[in-house]
Amino acid sequence: MWKDVFKPIGLIGAMMGFVGVVMHYVFAGPLRSQPEPPVARIDKGEGN
């Protein structure tokens, strides 16, 4: 049971950590040291 079912599930669960950090970087971005340089423009997905 452990070998056939939980080992693959556990591995997928651990790999979710990788997915999580990639998604965090994409959606939240890095937390830069303050003060950040002044913001020039924020693209909210409306295109150019």
Partner: protein, 245 residues
Amino acid sequence: MATSANEYHHTPNAIDRLGRTKVYVGELMRHPVYTRFLHWMYGIFFFLALLSGFGIYAPWIFRFFTPFFGGGAMTRLLHPWFGLGFVFFFGLQVINWLGIMRWTPADTEWIKRMKTYVEHQDKMEPPTVGFYNGGQKAMFWEIVGGSIAYVITGFIMWFPEIFGRILVTISYVIHDISALIMLFGIFFHVYLSTFGEPGTIQAMTRGTVSKEWAWTHHPAWYKEMTGRDPYADMEAERERLLRND
């Protein structure tokens, strides 16, 4: 105010004397040579143990790792030695960091407000965050617990003829769960020390951090090191930047 800023005391030793830490103007000393040496030693052993462990844990996926260690049998032979190397150097780091990793009420508060940290709701950490925040300490103590589990279960699996089949089977499961938790955590550790919080990895390479990094991520430590108000210094720097525009 109660902070998590536990003091770090370190007397330079023979390892420190092998290297040097150059602190430029605008930087603060973060980690001495000894701390950095230990970090990279157990880091190397961690990844050797991890990669060889992958080949043992799931050979149907990670069979391609084993030739790097000399084949399947050699991988099984080397894996416990890599693990012992990791535990040895990490154990020295535990002794080195015992003071600054002590859990405080400020760390419990940090854990409670972790959502604001993840979502970057605050651009600077609260004034209670010292040398390490609650998340870093939690991860450290998880690795301590995991390492103890590795050693106990590892020895049982290494000498199955002494401990018997049931104990060995239980050990396999505990060993695997500890490894999966640590694998999950290592992604966050690597991410937050590189892409997630730029300027962090410099602390473990050159041993220093910028003052901006220090007041942003560890305000109580910045105050302890400089005697200055981290928030006032950040505001002064912000105004200076705006004036330059």
